[in-house]
Amino acid sequence: MNYEELLVQTASADERFVVMTAENRALVRSAPKLLGKRFIDTGITEQTMIGMAAGLALRGRIPVVHALAPFLTMRAYEFIRTDVGIAHLPVKLSGYIPGFLSDGNGPTHQAIEDVAIMRGIPGMEVFCPADEDDLVRMLPAIWQSAAPSYVRINHKPGAYTHTDFEKGKAEIISEGSDVTILTYGFLFGQALEAKQLLEKEGLSVGLVNMRSLKPVDEACIIRCAANSKLVVTIEDHFQTGGLYSIVAETLVNQPHKATIFPMALKERWFKPGLLSEVLAFEGFTPNAIAATILKQL
């Protein structure tokens, strides 16, 4: 099952759901026909869409809203914070092409501060699936929750079969004493291959799919920093405010032996291009990740 099938199935079975979009229909092409008036396209109006979603939620609806991640989280930020956040309404934000997935669009379309700003809203939950399998495993719990949420949508098929999702729990792929990679979202697949490369070098490598960034699995972070010499955070996000910051916030008052090393975007937007070009240019291919980590050991 993919995102769209799960969404339409969920909404078809439960009248409370409405599907909204600010004229981004990539993930919801079949919704108009299958959901009728419960599919609401507000046009290119992210602010109005969020305000209306709050109004619909006041009436008992569960709006699942769609737009490109940068416009959803930033154009409409104050509406999310003020209308959804303050009222703690169950509005479900689906941000399309977050992080590197905006590939050739350029910096206007790069949501690489979205985790930072969304987790700054009290009560807002933040989830970052590694691939389509991970996404579909996490959505039922997210959509049935009473909390507002932001999902960094990643609908790309992956090579890994994930375990079932539990909010606030990381998915531990492996544990390692030399290095543990903490990652989320699209870069999970690259990190998985990098892990295999590092293991060929004889290293003991841990890999964790953080998937639930708020609430976050603090116990897992603390354990990794206790059991590994090196912890590397990998994310297609600014270094400020994302996973590296979360790890720092978690460990700053905890004894830990690991050195923490961030792989993230530092004070600039990434070079636009085909996704493979972006990964190569920015140093996030499996080979580049492995080489960066080897230098730290």
Partner: protein, 285 residues
């Protein structure tokens, strides 16, 4: 409107203005913008809106959203007069023990949604109105906006969308008191011809005297104005209405008064011209 009803609503409006004046004590409030929408609040809650103080969550109720949230003393005064909240709570204005502060919030019975950041509630109200339509329910959904608030692009964006969805159960009421925070609207960001602008955005527009209870009734009773358009009522009002020393003065937007000044203003409200406050010592933000 019958003579008796007119007299009752006029008396209630006077009471609400007294509450507003008293809320300028101990920290102050946005007195001018509160006084301009008193008749609107009193008329809507007393005569038009189907809202039961004892059944505030009834999904069949009508909704009023205060988008220009800084006029909330007018709402609280009205809610107190109509028994939604204890009048004594108004004395807890700005005290941490209660939630009566400068902008509306849902801790106060009768407040549908919080506001304060301008340009939000037309969209929120459109969501509520759309849900009423989806469920074939006859609720009316109203929003009071300021005129300065119309600077916000989000107001106009939500009108485009609300008209696309033909929300004729949604009514935008503009408290057209002619003032932004610090200056006349027409001197800063001119809005006129305002009715034409709303009409061009697809709305059905009426312009009335927002202090004339007969006109309010004659207009609101004819809602909806069309089968498929958002209703807009431009209510021409006077900022500070009822107090000559406040009326239409640009510097009397947010005022804090001492006990003596409040007594003078209450006198002035009841027609004592000698109570007029000339003093420039008023606390103005």
């Amino acid at each position: 409107m019958t003579k008796n009803k007119l007299a009752a609503l006029t008396a209630r409006s006077l009471k609400v203005r007294e509450h507003i004046i008293r809320m300028t004590a101990g920290g102050g409030c946005f007195i001018g913008a509160s006084l301009s929408c008193v008749e609107l609040m009193v008329y809507l809650y007393s005569e038009l809106l189907n809202i039961d103080a004892d059944d505030l969550q009834n999904p069949a109720r009508d909704y009023l959203f205060l988008s220009k949230g800084h006029d909330v003393p007018a709402l609280y005064g009205t809610l107190a007069e109509l028994g939604f909240i204890e009048t004594s709570r108004l004395q807890q204005h700005l005290q941490a023990a209660d939630s009566i502060y400068w902008h509306p919030n849902r801790n106060i019975p009768g407040v549908e949604f919080h506001s304060g950041s301008l340009g939000h509630l037309p969209a929120v109200a459109a969501g509520v109105a759309l849900d009423c339509k989806l469920k074939d329910q006859p609720n009316q959904v109203m929003v009071i906006t300021g005129d300065g608030e119309l600077n916000e692009g989000s107001v106009w964006e939500s009108l485009l969308v609300a008209n696309a969805y033909q929300l004729n159960n949604l009514t935008i009421i503009v408290d057209r008191n002619q003032f932004q925070a610090n200056i006349r609207t027409e001197e800063l960001i001119p809005l006129e011809p305002l009715a034409d602008k709303f009409a061009a955005f697809g709305c059905a527009v009426r312009t009335i005297d927002g202090h004339d209870l007969d006109q309010l009734e004659a207009t609101f009773k004819t809602l909806p104005f069309s089968d498929n358009k958002v209703n807009v009522i431009i209510a021409n009002t006077v900022r500070g209405k009822g107090l000559p020393s406040i009326e239409a003065r640009a510097d009397r937007w947010f005022c804090a008064f001492n006990d003596n000044e409040i007594l003078q203003l209450l006198e002035e409200l009841h027609g004592n011209k000698e109570a007029f406050i000339e003093s420039e010592s008023l606390t103005v933000r």
